[in-house]
Symmetry: C2
Subunit: 309 residues, 2 copies
């Protein structure tokens, strides 16, 4: 799957991923009205609204991008109905040829981690039959529990040719509380990065491992160090746009081959129509605003990468 991701990045010239993190407050009124008219102000209605909202965005941007990253929390908050919309979104993105990174940040140990890996990336055995359930292509995983938490995911990735992005240095302001603590003079996130490189070493595609890392766009200097510590790991970079990261901050997340990173934007793309810059599209044309925001993001990042050459 890392091979597919790289191919798609090269074809689109877009090392970016659109975060499908719908909040009801982002969904244009006409979509909400229609969903609530059909299903009422219920979890079914909310799920229908976010699914239709997603579908509009996917239809508008799928040809420009290699991948999407649905954030499962935004669906899970609506319970079973929300998770049905998550599954529909994943399936529809696959229909449109997109790589799907499930932003699930799961992490547990042993058979429990194996169950998460099975549910999100693998196949679950039921009697004599095997079923794919959520069926993402990549999943994000939390490393706090150590190798016991990661290995079951790695095993499923090997079998299914899928991949992981393991949290190393997250984009949020308080990420340093634990991740930056110094151990023999070096921050914890460097040790986690080294482990990611080790876990990924026997999970190689052609040039990159399918075990990658998450490093926030808001920490460009740390990104530069981690890039070198994990030369064969793809880095998923959240925090672009709404969280403050800019294209020029991101060049050191990439290797000299122009690969090695994929930059996420969620709100900046999916709720573009709510920003001053794209307000003229109007809520009815929210998906066109998202498309323009994708075009602009690609230009920003590609421009920064070209300027850095």
């Amino acid at each position: 799957m890392i091979h597919t991701l790289i191919e798609k990045i090269q074809k689109t010239h877009a090392p970016i991923v659109v975060g499908l993190d719908p909040m009801l407050s982002y969904v244009p009124q006409h979509i909400l009205d229609k969903a609530f008219a059909e299903f009422g102000e219920t979890p079914e209605g909310a799920a229908e609204a976010i699914w239709k909202y997603n579908k509009g965005i996917i239809d508008a941007v799928y040809d420009l991008i290699p991948a999407v990253k649905p954030q499962i929390a935004m669906y899970e908050q609506f319970g079973i109905e929300g998770l049905k919309a998550f599954q529909k979104t994943v399936d529809y993105c696959h229909e449109k040829g997109l790589v799907v990174i499930g932003d699930v940040k799961r992490g547990d140990i042993g058979s429990t981690s194996a169950a998460y890996a099975t549910g999100h990336l693998g196949k679950v055995q039921i009697g004599s039959k095997a079923f794919s359930t959520f069926n993402e292509d990549f999943a994000t995983v939390n490393p706090y529990l150590g190798t016991d938490g990661i290995k079951p995911f790695v095993d499923v990735c090997k079998e299914e040719k899928k991949g992981l992005f393991i949290l190393v240095k997250t984009s949020n302001p308080s990420s340093g509380e634990f991740q930056d603590r110094l151990i023999d003079g070096r921050p914890l996130y460097e040790y986690v990065g080294e482990k990611v490189a080790q876990w990924g070493a026997d999970c190689m595609g052609d040039s990159y491992s399918y075990i990658g890392a998450v490093v926030g766009a808001t920490y460009p200097k740390q990104g530069e160090i981690l890039r070198k510590l994990m030369p064969k790991s793809f880095i998923l970079v959240p925090g672009y746009g709404a969280q403050g990261g800019k294209g020029a901050d991101l060049v050191h997340f990439f290797n000299d081959d122009g690969l090695g990173a994929i930059v996420n934007s969620s709100r900046g793309i999916i709720a573009a129509y709510k920003q001053e810059q794209y307000a003229s599209f109007g809520a009815l044309n929210y998906a066109d605003a998202s498309r323009q925001a994708v075009v602009d993001m690609i230009a920003d990042i590609d421009g920064a990468l070209q300027a850095a050459k």
Copy 2:
């Protein structure tokens, strides 16, 4: 909710929690056969089997215990149908008067953490209406992302009178890879424990905070230190039984008031009939074996607590 938990512990004399972590391999053949006959070897069939299996155990043990801890991964692996069984299990445990600790180990930042908190502990707003979705009483949370990841959960807990158990020192063999790393001579888990105490300080019930911690039974010495670092935090203690922890190892997880810890056993209780000690019950009477295992666990832990007085 911490008040309810403490009351129930005092009433049952059982500072224990039964982990409802069903694997299909634990489910007795007669339950599997019936579920598959009705729904086929499908996710619906698997979900029906684990729900019926759970119900048997809950009916057999609910009067002995204060709380259960369903591990959501074991349901999530079966996708939407599995999560319906999770929800049914949570609802049924509430009907039987049990406190439900959702072992979800979620953790993200900002609006994403808020969405998880809403989905598991709070109410989601849909138009003019609010809905409880998964509706557990406590949830386990991963601290790797720092305060940004925890605060949205704490806010929901304050509003809903619910609670958290934050991972501090996990029970697995490799938990030390990051959690034991020394920072100025002290392991990371102590810093996380101190943060748990801080986060919990303005979340007090009568005598304990509703912001608790997870510390593995397999690390009794670390448990003793953490007990003192977080005097007002309840500690959820996994790793008893199948993972190797014993009652005598656990006395220092408790405070002098005999409270402050709740010990989980999953496989040791729910799959008791598969152990030599309880094999005479047979698969048909698996729930009676679980009841006996609960009685024995209470005696082991209560005995150890009495002996330590």
